[in-house]
Subunit: 409 residues, 2 copies
């Protein structure tokens, strides 16, 4: 008799038939005596259709109005799913983000959730109804509609689960769980039954696209047990747990990677206190996120070389800023590389096991893969390598760390 | 420097290009210094598309959820129109029905407006913005989304005009004003520059589809000056006025007609007090609206014959009820006729001019049109005739009462 929050993404509700299949699944949980809240995305294709209309009018649509427009996508889904549930004899009631007071800040198109009024949802659950909530959207303190940005429905689901103190938040998707790495790159990738919250957070931030990172952060903050599972098949999926000791005894949980990296270097800047801020300040001011940062003593003292990575889509803007800085600072040269990727090992086991890093570097060396940058945290090691080595590196590491499962048929 | 409420229907906002044209028109009013509130419908075809999705799931969709679904139609339009205004350098802000607190009762799919909170709209107008409001929709006291039923956007516009104490409410449509009769039936039909509110009310209730009747009632109740005009061409349209004396000196303003009529008769029921209620009570209880009613002394006393008309779509249900009643009351027979229409003369001039009715009857007699039922009010005379005489009757009356204008090219 648990309280379950289920989230279904755009593909899972992509047609009337699929919405009816979701209703059947929800009803099965309901019939087992559970109280169920369902969070849904827009039907697949709908958000792009609406964006297309907007862009015919304004290449960069007004953020406030774009949210008014896009939020209709989920509103259509909640109504149709509630009808499908009713048609199957399962009482249901739909709510937009505003109706359940998913209060956000006022940053249109990528708002953050501040608070949720759970009273109305609880009242419906008490009355035996399934509650269907529009994901991705909220309302700010002025009553303006906001959206959380792409993938925000995961965050909505976790936030609602936290507000309701749900027993579990189930994210239904088109894969059947979290894998040791992307099965499209390594067919021997194995589904994990469990993964710790910290590992999942690293996996998400390092490029695994199964869960949106903000939803994982939210789950961590409010200790919401999350489960990723398939909306098409059956199976238990992957549980993101807070109990580290029950997790399988593996040093490494998985290998994440990101193709969207770019590297920038400024050579021969004065080696003075505050130089990092002089260089990265203007980058941050342009709203460009910097990931890895390395500062080396340059060959010609008293200058230093400075390298950092950014998202590939920010590369051109970042390089322009860096060139301006270079002439201001009297730097010797700027360099850039857009053909790089990041590969990361993630695992809480790393904490207590020495030698993970050295085995990683050794494995890559054996394959002749040159490491360009390294960054570490307590539970992950990331390396930047040339783009062409991505598949080779991932597969070699997957085998070296004993992650290989039975190859998918 | 007037405060103008403009309403654009589905055809007027049926594509991105038409929405941009509406934005241009709105901006022209704005640039003349007027404060403008725009009320819009869903893009033409959108409501039917959404209804189609719903009906694939439930033949009779849940009323509450249908409102959640259909209300997205106008929400898309308000966002796109606000963007189009912004793209033309005209600051604008969109609001759903709920956001401007268009408070309605809780009768989903045909809710009635109770109240509107105009404060937010006034604040935006003061700040120099155009305000774009979703028509057709509101919110009930529980925060549930409601819709006003088809054509409800007219009513939204008038209600908003009333709440804002607007100087004029302009209904933009695909015709350029109110005509003496439907130009598709009588090509000599003439556009009226002005019509009184009472005449417009009769015209709307008698089958003229230019304005939705509830919007005219609302305009009357709050004395909102209404103007009907074309969203495609220019021109002054038709003003619905409360100043009877300035209206052109015509006895008859126009001829309305309705094809959606059906007639039912029950013969030989006991002529007792309360018999009308015995017959019409069950009809009303089935939510069927009765229009004209005639009770005759039957040829065989002490019985009576009873005839009434209903909307053609209610005919089958009404006839079923009547047959049950007939056997309960021991009536001699029931008769029905679905092949009838109603033609009505409307004009405030009727009050002070005798002989209108007799000239009407004479005109129809000359054409050999048999009158089946008659009903009158202070400013209208309606007759029921066989369906086949509709065009002939309308044209003969149009000419007889001097309504003919210059024939449209």
């Amino acid at each position: 008799m648990a309280l379950i929050v289920q989230k279904y993404g755009g593909t899972s509700v992509g047609s009337v038939e699929r919405i009816q299949a979701v209703a059947e699944r929800v009803k099965r949980w309901r019939d087992q005596g559970h109280r169920v809240v369902v969070v849904v995305s827009a039907m697949s294709g709908e958000t792009d259709r609406l964006l297309g209309l907007a862009r015919k009018i304004q290449p960069c649509p007004e953020p406030r109005e774009l949210d008014v427009l896009l939020s209709t996508g989920e509103q259509v889904t909640i109504a149709l799913l509630s009808m499908a549930l009713a048609a199957q004899g399962c009482a249901a009631r739909s709510y937009t983000g505003a109706q359940v007071h998913i209060l956000t800040d006022s940053v249109h198109n990528k708002a953050r959730i501040r608070d949720i009024d759970a009273a109305r949802v609880h009242a419906d659950l008490e009355a035996g109804r399934v509650v269907v909530v529009a994901g991705f959207q909220g309302v700010d303190e002025h009553g303006d509609i906001t959206t959380l940005g792409r993938g925000g429905s995961d965050t909505s689901a976790v936030a609602i689960a936290a507000a309701l103190k749900a027993d579990e938040c189930q994210i239904y998707t088109d894969v059947d769980g979290v894998y040791t790495t992307d099965p499209r790159v390594e067919p021997r990738a194995r589904k994990l039954d469990r993964i710790t919250f910290e590992e999942m957070l690293e996996m998400a931030s390092l490029g695994s696209k199964v869960l949106q990172i903000r939803s994982v952060e939210f789950a961590g903050k409010y200790r919401v047990p999350l489960r990723v599972l398939s909306s098409f098949g059956e199976g238990e999926g992957t549980l993101i747990t807070f109990e580290e000791d029950v997790v399988e005894d593996a040093k490494i949980a998985g290998i994440a990677f990101s193709r969207d990296e770019a590297k920038l270097t400024i050579l021969g800047v004065p080696d003075q206190p505050g130089i990092a801020h002089r260089i990265l300040g203007p980058i941050a001011a342009a709203n460009i996120e910097v990931d890895m940062i390395i500062q080396n003593i340059a060959t010609e003292e008293p200058t230093t070389d400075f390298t950092f990575t950014v998202h590939r889509s920010d590369y051109a803007r970042a390089m322009e800023i860096l060139r301006t800085l270079a002439s201001e600072l009297g730097a010797r040269q700027t360099l850039g590389d857009e053909q790089i990727v990041k590969i990361s090992l993630v695992g809480v086991g790393m904490r207590s096991h020495a030698g993970i890093a050295s085995r990683m570097f050794e494995t890559l060396a054996v394959e002749g893969i040159n490491i360009r940058m390294i960054s570490t945290s307590e539970i992950k090691i990331s390396v930047v390598v040339d783009e062409k080595y991505l598949e080779l590196g991932v597969r070699a590491l997957h085998q070296a760390f004993g992650l290989d499962g039975v190859q998918a048929a």
